[in-house]
């Protein structure tokens, strides 16, 4: 019996203590017509040796190709210490710190995490994390409706470069509460929001969402967009990549007054790609908005003897107290992922994270230069980029990516499905994990594929 420790004697004496003849009798309150005798469809048990063999085969089947895909999830070096420590049983198998005195480890980690997120975003407060970047934007949009009492609308405006999946997720999560999402047009030369459209946009909006770097890796004119939104009494929600914040302007410094809320995908901070999760969403805001923030928050306080310690705080916002009037139904944070990210940020430090950001930016610039030296490959957008670049191909992207995958190179994200108006477009990313040889290997493979099919 996997993981059940009872001996026959245990069972006998326990049943005796309860005063029943069999375990079966303990289920006598369940209507007989609902009972089942067997679970058809669940296979027989495997022992650890057998499941290990199976999972190793499955892991090998998926291979270890070279990955140049970004589009919201980024391959970075993860120091060995991160998951060695985060998967210690004391972190891994603990639960939400309801009993603060027996959870000071988790609570202090979260307090340190909140401190680091406020440092990266240059905002006052952070929560203990949300599920992922996309759902964090949904929560930020809902928060902006609660917080912005100056306007009477549930219309949220998105800058042109917001990840299209984030918009879908925000709509799925918040649409039933009446939130509507509108999007500013893209300037086809710069790959950023078309500023000319601002002058003619005449709808009232509760918030403007600006993603920096944009989904295309380009850099939005954050200062102008922020000031424009604030002049219209809209809040500004920044969707940011945490790695980039080591070198790019922090949301708290955008425009004259700074963004009001920042959120984003925490995965680049030491979280493995792992097919899309578990990741974590981060969220920070100005102090005046903290009571509208969803999710758990840890605060520092003192104990009976005046010693400092940590506890969950501002719980009056949360579902277990406020029930139907809570700021969100969210219950957990992504505790384990935040533990990993906090260790990652400590190991990298301000210098290390800046180097990761710069090296990724430079590798991507070099990759773009190499690939655009191939006939039939062009850059789609002018202007500065962070660590992703959109390229145009002279033919459909799908078959090219399949040919590259055949050589164990995952060549990027095919933009033609999400952005058909851009034509045959491909989004590539090269983080600090790529060497000059890797970039050259990609160039050569792409060059061969394009010239072979041209012949």
């Amino acid at each position: 019996m996997p993981f059940i420790p009872h001996t026959e004697d245990d069972v006998k004496s326990m049943l005796q203590t309860i005063g029943v003849d069999s375990i079966e009798q303990l289920f006598d309150e369940i209507p007989a017509e609902l009972r089942i005798d067997e679970l058809v469809g669940v296979p027989d048990a495997l022992c650890e040796m057998e499941i290990t063999r199976l999972m190793r085969a499955r892991s090998r089947q998926d291979g270890t190709p070279q990955c140049f895909i970004g589009a919201g999830a980024y391959e970075h070096h993860v120091p060995s210490a991160v998951w060695d420590i985060a998967t210690r049983g004391e972190f891994y198998s603990a639960y939400t710190p309801y009993q603060a005195e027996a959870s000071q480890g988790t609570l202090q980690v979260i307090y340190e995490y909140q401190s680091m997120i406020t440092a990266l975003t240059a905002l006052d407060v952070s929560n203990a994390s949300l599920y992922d970047g996309a759902s964090a934007l949904a929560e930020a949009a809902l928060m902006s409706v609660r917080a912005n009492r100056k306007v009477k609308t549930s219309r949220v405006l998105l800058a042109a470069g917001v990840n299209p999946t984030y918009e879908k997720v925000a709509h799925a999560i918040s649409g039933n509460q009446g939130l509507v999402f509108d999007r500013l047009p893209l300037d086809r030369h710069t790959g950023t929001t078309d500023l000319a459209a601002l002058a003619t946009y005449d709808q009232e909006v509760v918030a403007l969402v600006i993603q920096q770097p944009s989904f295309f890796g380009t850099l939005e004119p954050i200062d102008r967009l922020t000031d424009w939104a604030h002049q219209r009494a809209a809040l500004v929600i920044a969707v940011v990549n945490p790695t980039s914040l080591a070198i790019l302007k922090a949301p708290g410094h955008w425009g004259a007054d700074g963004a009001d809320i920042a959120c984003g995908e925490g995965q680049p901070l030491g979280i493995p790609l792992s097919s899309g999760g578990p990741y974590f969403g981060f969220m920070a805001c100005e102090k005046s908005l903290v009571r509208q923030m969803p999710g758990r928050i840890v605060g520092r306080t003192t104990d009976l003897e005046d010693k400092p310690g940590f506890t969950l705080t501002l719980q009056a916002r949360e579902q277990h107290i406020r029930r139907s009037k809570a700021t969100s139904n969210i219950c957990t944070n992504q505790g384990l992922m935040v533990t990993g990210a906090t260790i990652y940020m400590s190991l990298l430090g301000q210098e290390g994270l800046a180097r990761v950001a710069q090296r990724s930016q430079q590798n991507t610039a070099q990759l773009a230069a190499k690939l655009t030296s191939i006939k039939g490959v062009t850059r789609l957008f002018d202007g500065p980029h962070f660590h992703e670049v959109a390229l145009g191909l002279d033919r459909p992207v799908g078959p090219v990516l399949r040919a590259l995958a055949g050589q164990e190179i995952l060549g990027g994200f095919d933009l033609s499905a999400s952005h058909p108006e851009l034509g045959n477009a491909l989004l590539v990313c090269a983080t600090e994990t790529k060497t000059a040889d890797d970039l050259e290997r990609y160039r050569r493979a792409l060059s061969d594929i394009l010239s072979a099919s041209r012949k």
Partner: protein, 491 residues
């Protein structure tokens, strides 16, 4: 504070050199986009980091170190193999947008997990994307809404929720744009059928039920409840928080629930991780199948290969709830767990979770503790109320909880469900030995004795933890939510 903050160990210029790539040459990003300051991340060595976080871990209680009978949370053993195998390189490093040609191994696990979850719940189809129980609830109620709207039934926006329910239930209904109608619980712990008859009507969208309920008892009149709600045109939502209790014995699909969310971090033993990540897969019956959140894993009839089902395949879907496909790594852990437990083991989970709960309940009852529902069988958890102790000795459920910590035992859930005064909700789970249960019972008996002989000593607990009882009021009043460097003293 037993451990300084990592920031207080920082020294300018110190680094973990092995972790940063070599310096890159200057970027071509114009100054207007760059930050002028350096973010205040700590400057520490690798050993300092390792020691700091290892020591912090040692301040925690956890399943691996302590008995953890936190009611409604199912704190059972998390097998180490589940973690090790989810972190194999081909699975760990797979990009979520990678081609299916490089994901057949992963997708096979996900497809088989969907099939196994269908089998244990009796539902017709499963989507694995919700990232926590609360998000599974959101998906479930959104599907119920979408179903009614698709039939032109726009007025159905009331969700009936028993007063004993988890707070997530009413909060979710609100997030889905619904109105909550709370339903009273009868004295025996079952739903008040007369109240239910009054509550249903042409605006009823559905009812959210946890069965066994949060009161630790099986809802015996479930068939009657189903008929009343169905006759009124409403759908049935099953909150799978307590699925562990009935695994292999009864299936929500056989009770004809339309939708269920499962907490894989409870029933299928994925780690709680200090409060997440969870995973809240949803299962549906025939009526809600078209509305499942995407993506779902499909299998080709012709060559057996796996692929994603998206908007194109499920045009009525409530949409996407995460950036990619949800908490894939958690799902892999659940998959490994279910394969290791297997068909027969699944049944035994429900049986031994129930045996352990009833045994502990019997021991505590024999020692004089007052059960909230003394006439009922415990399911996998049960409630005791300390209202008499609180009234006569002024020792509260919270005091007893803190005293348990000093015994090396994590406290049960306190003050939930809200309708039982001074309650402890106790869930031992199936992976605990009889000796562990006896130790807990003995500790409870000793604390109750001490509450009589020396109440102040219980009121003052804990004594052996890294901190004494913390000032929650101060935490909420003088908000200190992030560390800032001390301002330099004025010269």
């Amino acid at each position: 504070m037993p451990e300084k903050l990592i920031f207080e160990k920082s020294r300018p210029g110190r680094r973990a050199y092995a972790q940063a790539p070599a310096l890159a040459t200057a970027t071509d990003i114009p100054a207007e986009f760059l930050r002028q300051d350096r973010p205040m991340l700590p400057e520490v060595s690798e050993l300092q980091v390792v020691r700091h976080y290892t020591r912090l871990s040692q301040l925690n209680f956890s399943i691996d170190t302590n008995f953890y009978p936190l009611g409604s949370c199912t704190m059972k053993y998390n097998p180490r193999a589940c973690n090790a195998l989810a972190m194999l390189p081909g699975l760990l490093n797979r990009h979520p947008l990678g081609p299916v040609s490089h994901g057949q191994g992963f997708l096979a696990c996900m497809y088989e997990l969907q099939e196994m979850l269908k089998a244990v719940t009796g539902m017709r189809a499963v989507s694995l994307t919700p990232m926590a129980g609360a998000q599974g609830e959101l998906a479930g109620v959104a599907m119920i809404r979408a179903y009614h709207v698709s039939r032109g039934d726009h007025e159905r926006n009331e969700i009936i929720v028993p007063d004993a329910a988890h707070g997530t239930n009413p909060a979710t209904a609100t997030m889905c744009g619904c109105i909550v109608r709370e339903l009273a619980t009868g004295a025996d712990g079952d739903v008040d059928i007369e109240a239910l008859k009054q509550a249903v009507g042409p605006k009823t969208a559905g009812i959210m039920l946890t069965n066994p309920s949060t009161l630790g008892v099986f809802e015996r009149r479930i068939i009657e409840i189903r008929r009343i709600v169905n006759d009124a045109g409403g759908l049935l939502y099953y909150d799978g928080a307590n699925l562990n209790a009935i695994l292999g014995k009864v299936r929500p699909g056989d009770m004809e629930f339309d939708v269920i969310h499962m907490n894989l971090h409870k029933t299928f033993s994925t780690p709680h991780g200090g409060g997440g990540p969870g995973s809240g897969a949803v299962g549906v019956g025939k009526r809600l199948r078209p509305f499942l959140p995407i993506p779902v894993v499909g299998r080709s009839d012709t060559d057996g290969s796996y692929h994603w089902l998206t908007e194109k395949d499920l045009p009525q879907s409530i949409g996407r709830l995460s950036g990619f496909m949800g908490n894939a790594g958690v799902l892999l852990r659940a998959y490994v767990y279910m394969r290791m437990v297997g068909r027969d083991g699944m049944r035994r989970i429900g049986e031994f979770a129930t045996l352990n709960a009833n045994y502990l309940q019997s021991r505590l009852r024999a020692a004089g503790f007052e059960l909230a529902f003394p006439e009922r069988r415990a399911s996998h958890e049960f409630i005791i109320t300390l209202k008499t102790m609180a009234r006569t000795l002024h020792v509260t459920a919270m005091d007893v909880a803190k005293a348990l910590l000093d015994e090396g035992l994590h406290a049960p859930t306190t003050y939930f469900p809200l309708l039982v005064p001074e309650c402890l909700l106790i869930e031992p789970t199936e992976t605990e030995t009889r000796e562990a249960l006896d130790r807990f019972a003995d500790a409870m008996i000793a604390i109750a004795e001490r509450a009589k002989s020396d109440p102040a000593s219980v009121q003052g607990a804990p004594y052996k933890m890294p901190v004494r009882r913390l000032d929650d009021v101060k935490a909420a009043r003088n908000l200190d939510l992030a560390w800032r460097p001390e301002p330099r003293p004025e010269l």
